[in-house]
Amino acid sequence: MKTLLKGGRVINPAEHFDQVADVLIEDGKIAAIGSQAAKASGIDATVELTPDHWVTPGLVDIHVHFRDPGRPDKETTASGAAAAIAGGFTTVCLMPNTDPVIDDLPTLAYVNQEARKTPIHIHAVPAATKELRGEEITEMRSLYSDGAVGFTDDGKCIMNGNVMRLALEYSKMLNVPIMCHAEDYNLAGHGCMNEGYYSTRLGLPGSPNTAESVIVARDIELARQTGGHLHICHISTKEAVELVRKAKAEGVHVTAEVTPHHLTLTDATVESYDPDFKMCPPLRTEEDRQAMIQGLLDGTIDAIASDHAPHTEDEKAFTFDQAPNGVIGLETTVGVLLTHLVHTGIIEPSLLIQRMTVGAAEIVHLSVGSIAVGQPADIAVIDSQREWTVDPTRFKSKSKNTCFKGMKLKGKAVMTFANGQCLMNEVDAKALQPA
């Protein structure tokens, strides 16, 4: 089977390639790019694209929650994968705060087995400590040998500095990151939104920027001491960005990711008291948001990750202070970022795609995120001009808890290929039948 993606703008940051070119997919792999592809014969299917269609590596999201095992009403590996495919993602990394926690070999085996049933690449990031208790580190070497790409207690912060030190020291042997959910529980208190003018105005308990930044500062020092790889999840405060910037300049092995919502929304949105604007870390101020953008532009922040965190509508129907934290993101990431960062001239397409592909893959040492001849054909086609409105009822995810509902967006993933298999196609239904 030979498929030609013809006339799109190929954006492949790993190779610093950004120009209109044809891409030939054959037998699940990239067979040719550019003039070699154009000259190919015996094409089975041709997808006619325009330069407004960006042909990018399959997108990579290193921070998603698929609630499997434990909460199939919220999401399963299958429904999560469907959401990823709809959003242009071909590689995702699963957080371990499932029920039971992904902290031992049998649970990891189950997760891997479910992952293999999907057509995309799903990797587990098991717990750094047993049952996420923050007390004893997990069997990292065994878990690594069964496919773990990193370790994290995400959703919880490892409050004991010595345990964090041990996790960084032990994981260093495996050359994988400890992914840090930075939240000092004493400082955060009962905070359910950012502490600031809006928490005062709305009478909601606030969590201060320091709840994040003091843990980031601590863990940077531990990474410096141990030489381990520290990855800061969902960074949200200007202070933490500055700490990471400084640590990187000093040679500490630290990386960071930021969510689409922290790049585009602020705590002013909580005025609605809508629990779909409640997540951890909370939406911060405009000043923090600008620091996120600056960090993304200057390389302090390596990747964009959705922190896709499904919850049922019933669970989210509580009062703001009682509702669970978390929002989903896989199906809105592309649209939100193109609308608010690319079409507004803030970020170049190639840099954005870098942070959503190879930049993310490098953190967890995965050899994906590039369009290279001979490699598996993981490709997203993004229609940069497609206008659409976020309608959660149309999501592939089982959950609807998005903070972008009703938002008018410009830009959408319209085709997704994994291993050369077309999994989603909104470009030309006749050219290719989705698998």
């Binding site: 709305l202 129907a317 703001f320």
Partner: protein
């Protein structure tokens, strides 16, 4: 243009004033100066009923009001209950124990049930900030919602009754120095007062220890102090807030004794720093000897505390009347 209901008995059939169009009273900031003036005028009319030997007018006959109090409150709930009864509404208290919340029925389900029973208006007190806004977003115009205190967010009827009490002594509060003293961080009363007092041009100050002062409170329209003497110097009104004893347990103040030493309002402090006619207020219930000295609280010459309670009934009568006579098709703000 006729604005105030001069004859409450017949007002259900009279033309609705342009000065009020709200189906809900949720957030003090939803009310404009014109709205508030209408509330105060209406309250004044109703206050007269309270001094009659027969305290009942048929204004809201046939209207059904439910008091839904998820937090303990005797005075606010009773105030609403009497306000409804004086206007001939049928008003009941939906008993809410903490266990029924634990049973998991959401407030939306509770409200839906009550609407199905024919309720026209719900008066809600709840520990979660924003709950009234969420309900109003959900139910729209299907019933009236009055916020009787939500979390630390707002307590609009208290703010309005405080304003009403002050304007009885100072008809024009523009430029008057009004100082709110105490635990500002956990006070919905403070937030509501700051808004209403600003609408009428008062010079609003807040004072308390820095650990009880919320971030950026000054942006709501007040001058922030940590030292009582500096704050109350030359004040026209000093409004004390209740200090919850839990604040010490959670470490926000080092001790009750130190709080009393530096923030308790005493006659001596008033005498040396304020004017002879400086007024004292307290939303109740008071911790006598903590935030306010007993002799000040009981001094009818300067204490507005019992006036606040009476004003509370009149204000709540006014709001129940205004909300329940707002035509549904004209919609509310929320």
């Amino acid at each position: 243009m006729s604005i105030a209901p001069t004859a409450p008995q017949t007002d259900r059939d009279t033309e609705k004033s342009a000065a009020w169009h709200h189906r809900h009273v949720i957030d003090s900031a939803d009310l404009t100066r014109q709205n508030v003036e209408e509330v105060l005028r209406t309250a004044k009319t109703f206050a007269e009923i309270l001094s009659r030997p027969v305290k009942k007018v048929p204004t809201l006959r046939g209207k059904v009001i439910i008091n839904l109090f998820y937090e303990n409150s005797t005075r606010t709930r009773t105030s609403f209950e009497l306000a409804g009864k004086y206007l001939s509404a049928d008003i009941s208290n939906f008993s809410v124990s903490t266990s029924s919340v634990a049973k998991g029925e959401s407030l939306i389900d509770t409200a839906e049930t009550l609407i199905a029973m024919g309720v026209d208006c719900m008066v809600i007190r709840h520990s979660s900030s924003g709950i009234c806004r969420q309900l109003a977003n959900h139910f729209g115009d299907r019933l009236g919602i009055i916020n009787a205190g939500d979390g630390y967010h707002d307590h609009p009827t208290q703010g309005l009754l405080d304003l009403y009490s002050i304007t009885q002594r100072f008809p024009n509060i523009e430029g008057k120095k009004i100082v709110i003293v105490g635990d500002i961080a956990h006070s919905r009363v403070a937030r509501s007062n700051i808004h209403f007092l600003n609408l009428f041009g008062a010079d609003v100050h807040v004072v308390g220890p820095s650990t009880l002062m919320p971030t950026d409170i000054g942006k709501l329209g007040c001058t922030v102090h940590n030292h009582l003497e500096e704050a109350i110097a030359g004040a026209d009104v000093v409004m004390c807030l209740r200090l919850q004893k839990e604040r010490q347990k959670s470490g926000l103040i080092p001790s009750l004794g130190e709080y009393i030493t530096y923030y308790s309002i005493t006659r001596e402090r008033l005498k040396t720093l304020c004017k002879p006619d400086t007024l004292i207020m307290h939303p109740g219930p008071m911790n006598r000897g903590v935030e306010i000295a007993s002799d000040l609280a009981d001094d009818r010459n300067i204490s507005l505390i019992t006036n606040q309670v009476t004003s509370g009934v009149a204000i709540r009568m006014a709001l129940l009347y205004l909300v329940l006579s707002t035509p549904i098709e004209r919609g509310g703000l929320a």
